[in-house]
């Protein structure tokens, strides 16, 4: 027993864990760019970052999302519990749909964001970035619910791109044709397919028991042969998600349990998520703090989408007002191949980015053959997404 425990759990001196799709992705891999995603090996590049990006936007991409943290919430009080936990109204969410949501601590600071799958009024799944089990358990006190950690039992695959629907239909999952965005369906062979994704494109996510991983992969891979299917890594996905304006916890903002410094934590309003907070709900964790924050205008930051002059990506660059005063930082940036612009997501100190939107600059350092070029580039604040695709929302997906 003890040996097993050591083998599986002391991952600080062990190689990263392998997802059920590891072998399949590894066989596609040409150079071996692996990254650590929640303790799992996740490909940052499978073969070629640009080609992988264009698979997302032009054909079909396959991305392994098994490392997502997954919790199953079951029980009589599941809906009430989730209404306490999350800022959105779970009672208004339709059965067999997915909603993007987040949850806050007592001070109204964001603990994590994630997607909530509603199978029934008493059966849900949360997929998120961080481990949240202790918080979920403590929040569930007094509720009749069971919280099941199923991260290691459920694998996930994301199929995104214009031909993704065709691939799935060809693979035999005809039911997906009816799926509107954020709807989900369970197939006969126990696959959960939802029309969701992190790319802003037409796409689907499949959650399945580990043991079905190989057979499902093979089926999809075969179906995609002539539809340009391509395994992709985190880097290509990152470009697509920035184009859509999606944020990542502990990348675009620091979650309140991770922040070491008091001024790093963010409330939903400060990361552009005020639309999500349902103040008409009688109660949710952090509501009273958020009421106070809004009443007293205590928010100090604003989250913004930026277009930057030139073509140099501005990762981590400082944002200046009038080229002098530091007013913010770029949290994610890329050259957008689809929008053909240098784009970025950024956190700015109020009132910059809100009342003051002009005369903002970023300082970019570019290394070219062992010499730095320092440039001040003008930025303009725009509305995300940078890339808006009609096919993302059309149902059935193959209609014109």
């Amino acid at each position: 027993m003890k040996k097993d425990f050591n083998k599986n759990r002391s991952n600080f001196n062990q190689p990263l864990l392998k997802t059920p799709f590891y072998e399949m992705i590894a066989s596609e891999m040409t150079q071996g760019y692996w990254d650590d995603w929640a303790g799992y090996k996740a490909a940052s590049i499978v073969q070629d970052q640009e080609l992988e990006y264009f698979a997302i936007r032009s054909t079909a991409s396959v991305f392994d999302i098994s490392p997502l943290i997954k919790y199953r919430i079951k029980g009589k009080d599941a809906e009430n519990f989730l209404n306490k936990l999350t800022v959105r109204n779970v009672s208004l969410q339709k059965i067999n749909t997915v909603q993007y949501t987040m949850w806050c601590d007592d001070n109204g600071s964001v603990l994590d964001d994630g997607t909530l799958f509603k199978f029934d009024v008493d059966d849900f799944r949360i997929c998120c970035q961080e481990r949240n089990l202790p918080w979920l358990i403590d929040t569930s006190l007094g509720f009749d619910v069971k919280i099941i950690e199923e991260t290691e039992d459920i694998a996930g695959l994301s199929i995104q791109g214009p031909t993704s629907a065709s691939v799935l239909i060809k693979a035999g999952y005809n039911l997906i044709e009816k799926l509107k965005p954020f709807e989900m369906i369970e197939t006969q062979d126990k696959l959960l397919i939802s029309r969701t994704g992190f790319t802003g494109d037409l796409g689907y996510e499949i959650f399945l028991p580990n043991k079905l991983a190989k057979i499902t992969w093979d089926k999809i891979w075969k179906a995609g042969e002539n539809l340009g299917i391509k395994a992709i890594g985190l880097n290509a996905l990152n470009i697509a998600r920035i184009e859509t304006g999606f944020i990542i916890a502990n990348s675009d903002f620091i979650t309140s349990e991770h922040a070491l410094r008091n001024n790093r934590i963010r409330n939903p309003d400060e990361i552009g998520m005020s639309w999500m907070v349902d103040m008409t709900k009688p109660y949710f964790n952090g509501k009273n703090a958020l009421i106070k924050i809004r009443d007293k205008n205590e928010s100090k930051f604003v989250f913004a989408a930026l277009e930057i002059d030139g073509k140099e990506p501005a990762d981590g660059a400082i944002i200046y007002y009038n080229k002098k005063q530091e007013v913010g930082i770029i949290t994610a940036a890329t050259w957008s191949p689809t929008a053909k612009k240098s784009i970025a997501l950024a956190s700015l100190k109020l009132p910059y980015g809100d009342e003051i939107q002009s005369n903002l600059w970023v300082e970019i350092y570019v290394l070219r053959e062992l010499e730095y070029y320092k440039m001040m580039k003008k930025v303009i604040i725009v509305k995300a997404p940078f890339v808006k695709l009609k096919r993302r929302n059309i149902t059935p997906p193959l209609s014109k």
Partner: protein, 525 residues
């Protein structure tokens, strides 16, 4: 059927324990209309009188006071309603199994019989130092503790001033304070005192009512807390008020009535009515609704938050903190009625007017504490015994002698369960008592044993803890009951808390009630 009573009150106070009464008096005296709701049919809470035998009622739990300050007595008009404490100080005797004893008289041992003159001198010096140290803590007893919500400069300066005063006392006193403050009481005593009985007594008094042994770090704090008390201006005194605790509670009650508080008994609150995070009133178990803009709960924080509000409506962070409160009591109470006055083979009759403590040595107290860590009962536990009817003849019917015994280290969540253990503990105590007072066992005509579990059910205190929750260094001042709520305010608008679970804690002092009432008055200004 639901009955809704209109908002004719300014404040509803829940729980007519002495703190609930104190807060009500204080608020009513400012002209506020106060409604006080009590579950039982008697005022007093843990100090309430209940029937012990055959229609004879007495205060069943506490038997002496050492915390009722002259400030509280004045502010609550207790003298006007018949409180008599002057000249009712009682001595303490500490005895061991062989009958050796010491007697402390005056204010906690200004004079001690039965110890060497060297020890006498040592104790006077140590007591002086401890009293000074406790006086530093005492400065903060009447304050609403500092927290995020309550951090006025003036209050912070008070800490600075205490620090400066301490430093001005000289380098030695300054260093000793910081050296000693977190020490265990055993180490301090072993440095200074030789007499085992004195060390045993001080160990007992430092740890009575909390889950610490004399060798547990920070246990000295318990002794400082005890010494910080004053009754009617007399520092560290120990008083059996005229008429006993029942009379004392009666003065609280009469003062409340006199100041216009409306008290309704037999009204068990089921839950608080909260709308939009604002308190609206309370609902009783028989469906009655009482409405007011403010509610002050003097019951245990565990009950207030987990029962009256419920886990579902509390933010998870607060829930986590409240969940960590240690609220399981470890003190039991035995009340006896005897058909004849006890006679001791070691003590003369005069001594029966004292509080008699059985705590032969530090090691004895520590050893009796050890089993409680493993949820077991000690054999031959430490206890204190008082004969109320001997101290005050008016207190019992003809020729009957009453005995009041407080037993230490009897954990709430006994592994073997209380059903089976009660008799074992009872016999163990009586065997010891019979050896100290031969024939006492035979003279028993009635007895009442209250384990922490009984106290929980009879007095509506979760865990049966006399202080509502552990009174230890991690739960004092700003941290009592939790940091966020330490200034008697809660995250629910206009819901306030007081009672032993709040600063400055248990003991019959009235301070939590008075402080909370003051907070309400300040907030309304």
């Amino acid at each position: 059927m639901q009955e809704v009573l209109m908002k004719s009150f300014d404040v509803i106070v829940v729980g007519a324990g002495h703190n609930g009464l104190a807060a009500s008096i204080k608020l009513a005296k400012t002209g506020r209309k106060v409604l006080l709701l009590e579950t039982s049919s008697e005022p007093g809470g843990l100090a309430a009188s209940k029937e012990v035998f055959n229609g004879f009622k007495t205060a069943t739990l506490p038997h002496i006071i050492n915390q009722l300050s002259s400030k509280a007595i004045r502010e609550l008009d207790l003298l006007k309603y018949g409180l008599e404490t002057k000249n009712y100080s009682i001595p303490t005797i500490c005895i061991d199994h062989s009958g050796r004893y010491i007697q402390l008289s005056g204010n906690y041992g200004s004079e001690i019989e039965g110890i060497s003159s060297l020890d006498q001198k040592n104790w006077i010096n140590l007591k002086k130092r401890l009293t000074y140290q406790s006086s530093l803590l005492k400065r903060f007893i009447y304050d609403s503790p500092i927290n995020k919500d309550n951090n006025k400069l003036l209050q912070k300066l008070k800490f600075l001033k205490a620090g400066i005063d301490l430093r001005l006392k000289g380098r030695e006193e300054f260093q000793e304070f910081f050296r000693m403050i977190l020490m265990c009481v055993a180490d301090v005593l072993e440095e200074e005192i030789n007499n085992d009985l004195l060390k045993g007594l001080l160990s007992f008094d430092a740890t009575l009512g909390i889950n610490l042994g004399p060798r547990s770090p920070t246990s000295l704090m318990g002794l400082l807390y005890k010494l910080s008390g004053e009754v009617n201006g007399e520092q560290s005194s120990q008083i059996f008020p005229k008429g006993g605790i029942e009379k004392l509670v009666d003065t609280f009650y009469k003062s409340a009535i006199g100041s216009g508080v409306k008290i309704i008994f037999d009204q068990e609150v089921k839950n608080l009515i909260i709308e939009n995070n604002k308190i609206q009133g309370v609902k009783t178990i028989n469906g009655k609704e009482y409405r007011a803009n403010k509610v002050l709960s003097s019951v245990s924080p565990i009950k207030t938050f987990f029962e009256f509000i419920g886990h579902k409506k509390l933010d998870t962070g607060v829930l986590r903190e409240l969940k960590s409160l240690r609220y399981k009591g470890n003190v039991s109470k035995l009340n006896l009625a005897l058909d004849q006055k006890p006679v001791s083979s070691f003590l003369d009759n005069q001594c029966l007017n004292s509080r008699i403590v059985y705590a032969p040595s530090i090691n004895h107290v520590e050893k009796k504490f050890n089993p409680s860590k493993y949820k077991e009962l000690p054999e031959d536990p430490c206890f204190e015994i008082l004969f109320p009817s001997i101290i005050d003849d008016d207190l019992a019917p003809n020729k009957i002698t009453t005995a009041s015994i407080i037993i230490q280290n009897t954990p709430y969540d006994l592994k073997a369960g209380w059903e089976k253990s009660k008799e074992i503990l009872y016999n163990s105590i009586l065997t010891r008592l019979d050896s100290l007072f031969p024939g006492l066992k035979k003279s028993i005509i009635a007895s009442q044993f209250l384990s922490p579990v009984d106290i929980e059910s009879q007095f509506n205190v979760p865990g049966g803890h006399w202080h509502h929750s552990e009174l230890q260094i991690d739960r004092l001042y700003s941290l009592r009951p939790i940091f966020k709520y330490s200034n008697y305010k809660t995250s629910i608008k206009n819901l306030y808390i007081c009672g032993a679970g709040t600063h400055p804690g248990g003991g019959i002092s009235g301070n939590p009630g008075i402080n909370a009432a003051n907070q309400i008055i300040v907030d309304e200004k």
